[in-house]
């Protein structure tokens, strides 16, 4: 594994696109919290709590997690797509096979990249949440700090699922522009449309929330949904969101499906 990761590092350490995308992830994940900071001065009507709550334990895990889910999607997802499609464009994928690299190894090198990005992003998420929470919360103990409904493993599964989806799109489409377009459009437009249409025409009701990217999004939902609990709208919360354990289980299944589809797209294709 380390050998293949070293190879990926040699390939992309000087690549400006990958470096820039990683830099943006590290910058915008904490910077996103500044947007919430702006809300601090906004006087919210009771019983809504102050926006300062987003900085305090335990809500800070949800706030950073939600912002992190979008920065992972926008920056790390594109970096994963680029890491495959650039190799198609430069024909270095083909040359790697010619040089004797088995297809399994090439695929594994990209999978390890997904795994590494997910681990690093999760550690970064935990660090930012802890630092912001520690500076913003008046009184807390260790148990209270980590009272976060498995936020760290949830974030890791969210990263793995999002980046596995990006990997599948990259191996399947292979052209940078088209792959990135499809990746964005599926999440932002196609799946929500399908959910709406299936809900309207097929009368599947609550089941429309079990589309893959919606399940993955529900691992790190918008903190406002959680605030619904404070507003005693628990019933509505249950209607909107998938319970965390179910979302974690289903997302894990989708990780395997995306990784399997990526392998099937690559396994026997002419290069």
């Amino acid at each position: 594994m380390l050998n293949l990761l070293r190879l990926e590092y040699k390939k992309f350490r000087k690549n400006s696109v990958v470096s820039m995308l990683c830099f943006f992830f590290f910058l915008f994940t904490p910077a996103g919290m500044i947007v919430i900071l702006g809300l601090q001065d906004v006087e919210l009507p009771p019983p809504l709590p102050s926006a300062e709550m987003y900085y305090r334990f335990t809500l800070v895990w949800d706030a950073v997690g939600y912002i992190g889910s979008w920065t992972v999607f926008f920056f790390l997802g594109i970096a994963i797509i680029y890491s495959v499609t650039a190799e198609v464009r430069y024909k270095t994928l083909r040359q790697s096979m010619i040089n004797g690299m088995p297809r399994t190894e090439f695929y594994l090198s990209k999978f390890y990249l997904v795994l590494s990005f997910s681990i690093i992003a999760t550690l970064y998420y935990a660090l930012i949440s802890l630092v912001i929470g520690a500076f913003s919360t008046d009184q807390y103990d260790l148990a209270y700090m980590f009272e976060n409904e498995w936020a760290i493993p949830r974030f890791f599964i969210m990263c793995m699922a999002t980046l596995s989806f990006a990997l599948f799109i990259a191996f399947w489409v292979r052209m940078s522009g088209l792959a990135i377009f499809l990746y964005y459009v599926y999440v932002i437009s196609i799946e929500p449309s399908l959910r709406g249409l299936s809900s309207y025409f097929l009368d599947i009701g609550d089941w429309s929330k079990y589309f893959p990217m919606n399940i993955i999004e529900d691992l790190m939902p918008m903190p406002l949904y959680k605030l619904a609990g404070y507003l005693e709208m628990q019933r509505e919360k249950a209607d909107i969101l998938i319970d965390y354990p179910i979302a974690m289980g289903l997302s894990t299944i989708f990780i395997f499906i995306f990784l399997g589809l990526a392998w099937l797209s690559f396994r026997k294709r002419d290069l």
């Binding site: 390939k11 430069y90 270095t92 010619i98 040089n99 002419d270």
Partner: protein, 295 residues
């Protein structure tokens, strides 16, 4: 020892049969030329034996099936040089070494061989086409492979680039490595290769040592002031195998042992005075054109 054995290999692109039941055997130390016009299936064949294209039928075996990762023992350029444009020569060669598993991380000798030592720290994107091709040749030599495959290594190069690549290939051919060379430049193949296979429309037309492919026929290039009279005279003769016109002169194909001095004497007697006469053995190019035009 057999390096590569291809048996009944076929590949279709839709309705087009790119490679048709191709069988070849290449042994250690041979410098094997793969000749064929554009679209004859050379690159498709090389693509299949290097694992980037799947075959529809047939099989191939490297090193008698003894090697687990045979491609790591083979250095290949297929069509264009493929490198990371933002990395320099050393960094790109290091990636090749990492994949192939070689020990030597110093590429000075290789870069010297292909005359790129001065530009080793420049990014690949800044190289000319000839420099890119030379780096690709250097990459084939990383980790000291047993076999080298070059597909049209001089394609698209200017005369200087062709000369540079040709010199490098000649140097490599002296090292005793097994080389498979697909090329249009028949002069080059004739100079370098010990064996050739000629393919057209995916089919094998001829194969063997260069000497056996080249016939014993002699070519005579002849011209005279009375061009029509010369043509009529030559056409009437029965000991000339074929006649073609090349500009001002006639090209005659005759069997080895044909007496040229007797021909000129008889022409003079017939009042036709020869102004131009060149006698030479048939070149591979002529054999190639003859074999492929028949198919």
């Amino acid at each position: 020892m057999t390096v590569l054995k291809i048996q009944n290999l076929s590949k279709n692109y839709g309705v087009i049969r790119a490679v048709d039941n191709l069988s070849l055997t290449i042994n250690t130390g041979q410098i094997f030329g793969l000749l064929g016009p554009n679209g004859s299936g050379k690159t498709t064949t090389l693509g299949m034996i290097t694992g980037i294209l799947s075959s529809d039928q047939g099989s191939y075996e490297w090193f008698g099936g003894q090697s687990k990762h045979p491609l790591k023992k083979i250095g290949t350029i297929l069509e264009t040089p493929n490198f990371y444009p933002y990395l320099n020569a050393d960094e790109n060669l290091e990636i090749v070494r990492h994949i192939k598993g070689g020990e030597n991380k110093d590429f000075t000798d290789l870069l010297e061989l292909v005359n790129l030592k001065e530009r080793r720290k420049s990014p690949f994107a800044s190289y000319s086409l000839g420099m890119k091709q030379r780096l690709a040749i250097a990459a084939t030599l990383v980790a000291d492979p047993e076999v080298l495959i070059f597909d049209e290594p001089t394609n698209g190069l200017d005369p200087q680039g062709i000369a540079d690549v040709r010199n490098t290939l000649l140097k490599i051919s002296e090292t005793g490595k097994t080389i498979i060379l697909a090329s249009h430049i028949l002069d080059e193949v004739e100079k370098i290769c010990s064996h050739v296979a000629i393919i057209k429309k995916g089919k094998l037309l001829a194969e063997g040592p260069v000497g056996s492919i080249l016939s014993n026929d002699t070519t005579i290039e002849i011209g005279a002031t009375d061009r029509n009279g010369l043509g009529n005279y030559l056409n009437a003769r029965t000991d000339i195998k074929s006649i073609s016109i090349d500009g001002m002169y006639y090209n005659l194909s005759v069997e080895d042992g044909f007496k040229v001095e007797k021909l000129t004497e008889e022409l003079a007697r017939a009042g036709i005075f020869v102004t131009h006469l060149v006698t030479r053995k048939k070149k591979l190019e002529e054999e190639f054109l003859e074999i492929t035009s028949k198919a």
